[in-house]
């Protein structure tokens, strides 16, 4: 049934596809890392009693969660250079380049989602634990750092990783600013050689294998966590 197809095209373009895959994985890891750090800060702001902290954080999260990711990537690519030019007043000022702009866009977008996950994690730690920390004389930051966040993160690891898998799939959107990730590389080869079916089948298979394997490991991790805390 595949008589008319040429699957050798995959073999021939492997080095190029591998470059794309490295880009996808690198962007995913960096954006996850940045997203968790920024998301934790946002979550701490959101659970704060002070309106000056929790209102802006809430607004940020709601704004980004109601915006398509592709728009956020666009904004950053086209608007940030304009803004930099406006602020610095230097018309020859260059933008920060598509990679950095995409990385910032992904980080900021993911941070909104991580913020909500981490906030739920913080709120899942029983009030009694916080009281016990306070009763020992720990301050709010100390109680957060040593008692609440370690337990929150432990509860959240599976869902944080699941969000990372979704992010990995979303990185394929960087084609809109001309970057070549794995999907972009496959797409370029497909169009250059007229091998659309072969390349897109291959790309789908690779995404499926990676994401399926990753989500299975998350499940196993989750099972081990719930076993050890029981």
């Amino acid at each position: 049934m595949f008589a008319g197809f040429d699957f050798d095209v995959i073999q021939r373009s492997l080095p190029y596809l591998w470059e794309g895959m490295q880009f996808s994985l690198g962007l995913t890891l960096l954006a996850m890392l940045g997203g968790v750090v920024l998301g934790t800060l946002l979550a701490l702001m959101r659970v704060s009693r002070f309106a000056v902290l929790n209102v802006p954080a809430g607004g940020y999260v709601n704004l980004l969660r109601s915006t398509p990711l592709i728009l956020v990537i666009f904004w950053f690519y086209f608007l940030v250079p304009l803004a930099i030019k406006k602020i610095t007043g230097d018309p020859y000022m260059q933008g920060i380049g598509p990679f950095h702009s995409a990385l910032i866009a992904f980080t900021m977008f993911e941070a909104a989602y991580y913020c909500e996950i981490i906030r739920a994690g913080i709120q899942s730690v029983p009030r009694g634990q916080v009281n016990a920390a306070y009763a020992l004389g720990l301050t709010y930051p100390q109680a957060m750092a040593h008692v609440v966040l370690p337990q929150a993160f432990r509860n959240m690891v599976p869902i944080l990783l699941t969000q990372g898998i979704i992010l990995f799939q979303d990185t394929s959107l960087v084609y809109v600013v001309g970057l070549t990730d794995f999907m972009g590389a496959a797409s370029k080869v497909a169009q250059r050689d007229g091998r659309l079916v072969e390349m897109y089948l291959f790309a789908a298979l690779v995404y499926f294998i990676l994401c399926f394997a990753a989500s299975r490991s998350v499940k196993r991790l989750q099972a081990r966590f719930s076993a050890s805390s029981a």
């Binding site: 009694g128 634990q129 009281n131 016990a132 920390a133 306070y134 009763a135 020992l136 004389g137 720990l138 301050t139 100390q142 040593h146 008692v147 370690p150 337990q151 432990r154 805390s229 029981a230």
Partner: protein, 242 residues
């Protein structure tokens, strides 16, 4: 040591504490008892500022708890508290539970803290469990670790919020034994409990609460011998006749 004067507290429209006044002197053991929902746990949580109150004043060791200028963490580090559900930190070993505040709050060196922790674990008979996690211990053992954790701060007073209510009956005594020893060593203690045997044998005074009010505040023998209020008589008849 602890002076509670005319403290009132509301949750919305509901008044949980009504004009409560009592005191605990240095070296004194005061048991707070009463039916559930009478406000006794709320009152004891007000003493170290875990619960805010709207009216009245609580002074601990000369420091006003309700004053917004009070450094609450510093005050709390001098008052030990033991909770109904132990509240050990599940992600840390027993030793790390006891070390944490010694290192972070009292600025003891890790070595000094570890020595103190081991000495206290020995005192509560749990030195063999130093490297276990709380989840690996029984309820009674966890509560004894919690007492050791509070003692590690060299507290000037100890608050107990129903320390045996979440325990299986066969574990209650091992915790009460530790508390009795503490009392014999002269520790200032405020204890919310239903353990009337402990109250009768150890307490100097009994505070009886009902409906958010302090109904009786008398010497232990008077409370058990000739309770003055009808509510205390009823409470005692319910709790003692089983």
């Amino acid at each position: 040591m602890i002076n509670v004067s005319s403290v009132s507290k509301w949750y919305g429209d509901f008044q949980v504490l009504k004009d409560c006044t009592t005191h605990v002197e240095k070296g004194e053991v005061v048991v707070v008892c009463g039916p559930s929902g009478s406000g006794k746990s709320t009152l004891i949580k007000c003493v170290n500022g875990l619960e805010p109150f709207q009216r009245g004043e609580i002074v601990v060791n000369g420091v006003s708890v309700g004053d917004p200028r009070t450094n609450l963490p510093a005050l709390r580090s001098r008052i030990g508290m033991v909770f109904q559900n132990f509240e050990l930190f599940p992600h840390m070993t027993v030793t790390d539970n006891i070390n944490l505040a010694q290192i972070k709050v009292l600025r003891r060196s890790p070595k000094e803290a570890a020595e103190r922790s081991l000495a206290l674990l020995t005192r509560v008979g749990l030195e063999a469990h130093a490297h276990k996690y709380p989840g690996e211990l029984s309820g009674g053992q966890q509560q004894r670790v919690a007492i050791a954790r509070a003692l590690a701060m060299d507290p000037i007073a100890m608050l107990f919020d129903e320390p045996t209510s979440a325990l299986d009956p066969e574990m209650i005594n091992e915790v009460l034994d530790v508390m009795v020893k503490l009392a014999e060593d002269g520790m200032t203690m405020m204890v919310v409990t239903h353990e009337m045997g402990f109250a009768r044998n150890v307490a100097h005074r009994v505070v009886f609460m009902d409906g958010g009010e302090i109904v009786e505040d008398t010497a232990t023998e008077d409370f058990f011998g000739k309770p003055r209020s009808e509510r205390a008589v009823q409470f005692l008849s319910k709790i003692l006749h089983h």
